[in-house]
């Protein structure tokens, strides 16, 4: 079920996705952007611990597993970014007093890891059949020392860049759901990056649609 999308004007690396590749979780997806690869698994709506129970909505827990070693501060902040994005798009009030667990396993990190997490998370949530008000995708932009904007940078490009930004964008109005920035940049550059990301997101949403259509092609 692997699909690959080539790059044209807004240059994204080639990306691919596979849904429901794991048998045990309720929803799973792997997402590949260039050499960056992430595997996501979703469990839920499942039974929740009494201490974590919320009476009017589902409890969402996001866990990021690094390739080696234990999760540290960096993973914690990525978890929070992904969780807030998911909470914005999930209709968690339809499954009160239950738990949703999203596990993101890094398979390989070659830059734009946070955007790859977001894309993998969205595909996995969709595979699990959880109710969502809209889809979301992640786009990473790097501003080079000479002011050039690179979308979906590799690890080497990230290292050379002056500023690095990741945006989560929703599918209905193409608005920013979450942003995570690093480095220094002007207001104008920020707006430029948002505009570029919104343009890139259209390509990713079209890819989502194509890969879901492919998945359901046998039951049409």
């Amino acid at each position: 079920m692997m699909e690959v999308c080539g790059s044209s004007n807004v240059s994204l690396r080639e990306f691919g996705c596979e849904q429901s590749l794991l048998s045990r979780p309720d929803g799973s997806a792997s997402f590949i952007q260039g050499d960056t690869s992430v595997l996501a698994g979703v469990y839920g709506p499942a039974e929740v611990k009494v201490s974590k129970e919320i009476y009017d909505r589902a409890t969402l827990e996001v866990l990021v597993q690094p390739k080696v070693g234990l999760p540290s501060v960096r993973e914690r902040s990525q978890e929070q970014c992904v969780r807030e994005t998911c909470e914005a798009s999930l209709l968690s009030s339809l499954h009160p007093r239950s738990s949703l667990t999203l596990i993101l396993q890094v398979l390989h990190d070659d830059g734009s890891l946070l955007s790859c997490f977001l894309n993998a998370a969205c595909m996995a949530l969709m595979d699990a059949g959880l109710p969502m008000s809209c889809l979301f995708c992640g786009v990473t932009c790097a501003i080079h020392a000479d002011g050039q904007i690179i979308t979906d940078p590799t690890a080497a490009q990230e290292k050379e860049s002056r500023a690095l930004m990741t945006f989560a964008i929703d599918s209905t109005e193409h608005k920013v759901l979450m942003s995570s920035t690093k480095g220094s940049f002007s207001v104008h550059e920020l707006q430029q990056c948002i505009a570029v990301s919104q343009k890139a997101s259209e390509k990713i949403f079209q890819f989502y649609r194509d890969s879901v259509r492919r998945r359901y092609s046998k039951t049409l």
Binding site: S20, D26, G27, G44, P45, A46, E47, V48, S89, L91, L94, H95, P96, R97, S98, S99, M126, D127, A128, G129, L130, P131, M132, S133, C134, L135, D170, S171, T172, Y208, R209, V212, R213, R215, Y216, K218, T219, L220
Partner: protein
Amino acid sequence: MFSCLKHKVGEVLLPGDEFSFQPEDTISLTDTVKPEKVICGPGLRRSGDRLLVSKSGVLRTKQPNMFWVDSQQKRYVPAKGETVIGIVTVKSGDVFKVDCGGSEQASLSYLAFEGATKRNRPNVQVGDLVFSQFVIANKDMEPELVCVDSSGRANGMGVFGGGGLLFRVSLGLIRRLLAPQSPLRAELQQLFPHELVIGMNGRLWVKASSVQQTLIIANLLESCENMTAEQRRQLFRRAAQGAL
């Protein structure tokens, strides 16, 4: 709205897609104006005069005006009136706790069996399988199961399962098996005689005359999840010839 929904039947929809209600340009003075009614099933949500999609899947319809999104998911969410295969986990006083695959354990009263009275308790042990029906199932309350229909008869429900095999498949496959005149079920019946219990929660229980035949049926059902009709027919033909 009705016409644009009709237009999309059989197509793949994604969360966030929406249908909006467009009033007709001309109003006929002679005909009586009938309000359009649309019944939304799973995956569709009403918000004002718009219809929002909340699950990814294929849009299906049923006459005259029912629409829903058919998705392939694994986790079960209890719904009233559905029959499921549950596993008894706790026996406490006058209720059993039953694991039905949802987010919460369902309760099953010991009086909700055919012929059960306060004196005559049903013989249910922890770990038994029960085929039962939801009478209460909503998101805010603990779901409740019964093993009798509205007239107090078992009607096929109750404790079952000796010597069979229980396994899980996706909810989409279960719905395909339960559909009226399901081709999959018809093909399965031609293989060899067997008993099959289908729970809407994704659990299947099979028993044939020998362990080998039980396993063959279980493996066939598990493998035909991602097959086209033609591939499935070929596989069943090979199974009937004893090639497996």
